[in-house]
Symmetry: C2
Subunit: 183 residues, 2 copies
């Protein structure tokens, strides 16, 4: 089954796999679980602590967040092939802050913490590159958020368009958490 996975596509397109050689991607994929979902299935549930890095192979997912009573959902982002999710909670003691659900039939590749530990022992170079890509995206996100809030603060000193600011923030946030390449 592993040999039929579209290595080359993901090698070129996923920011998680940036700088990885083909044999390093193979090492990674051997450590992953390969899952398929019909459309409208919950892959990762808000409020649940399940640590993993999920890489979308085919299909699309939506990221949604419910309100406290669980009655109303807001769509935060749409994720396509090559996109990663779960990285915000992978190294933390934290429940997932949103639900990821399939919109079409999807195939996803999941790296558990044990899988990651095994990869680090087995192919430290591949694990190092993946971690570097994770640090890079978190640093980029943080810098972007920092800049955004700085601009907001400057603006708030001269005017007060609270509703406009709020909409802008929701748009920014959706982009921040669904993209990995900011430049």
């Amino acid at each position: 089954m592993i040999d039929r996975l579209p290595y080359r596509l993901q090698l070129n397109e996923s920011p998680l796999l940036r700088d990885l050689e083909e044999d390093e991607v193979k090492s990674l994929f051997k450590r992953m679980e390969h899952l398929c979902f019909e459309s409208d299935r919950t892959i990762l549930a808000q409020g649940v602590e399940e640590k993993g890095l999920w890489l979308i192979g085919e299909g699309c997912c939506e990221v949604v967040r419910g309100n406290q009573s669980g009655t109303k959902e807001r769509i935060l982002a749409m994720l396509g092939p090559g996109t990663v999710f779960g990285e915000m909670s992978f190294f933390q003691q934290a429940a997932h802050s949103a639900t990821v659900r399939s919109v079409t039939p999807v195939s996803v590749h999941k790296l558990t913490q044990q899988g990651f530990t095994d990869l680090l022992a087995d192919n430290g170079r591949a694990a190092g590159k993946i971690l570097t890509n994770l640090v890079r995206v978190q640093s980029d996100r943080l810098n972007m958020m920092d800049q955004w809030v700085c601009e907001l603060m400057d603006r708030n000193q001269t005017e007060n368009g609270a509703t406009h600011t709020l909409n802008e923030w929701h748009q920014f946030r959706s982009k921040l958490y669904s993209e990995w390449n900011f430049y």
Copy 2:
């Protein structure tokens, strides 16, 4: 010289070295440059692209940011032994956004990108743990900033205390960039 470095102190206290075994810390230190500065020396200059992870061994430094004309400086944070700086620019194409200057005589241990690449080849496990610590702190910072801005947005819908908000933001930011342990 390396044998006289206070491994054990930093092993216990620096968030960069969390989970590293003593022999892994030794591998890291062999790849670092060990520098000493008198007080009031610039260790890392705002606007300069010099990639490195700096770990303070002894002494204190201040993080300052100049305005555009370079005439007025604002102190963003004070850093003590075991603190890391430079990590925001280590994996990015970006100049340092602030200057780090010694307040007392300091000893610092600097890991260059080449040093890091060598460590990854030489001791992938140690490099993996350091990267994991870096991802974790960036994720924590991002989550914290996210929460902070969310609360700000909620508040802005009902009231508008712009000056108060601005002071709060400066305090938050100082804490966010100088600490590694948020919980």
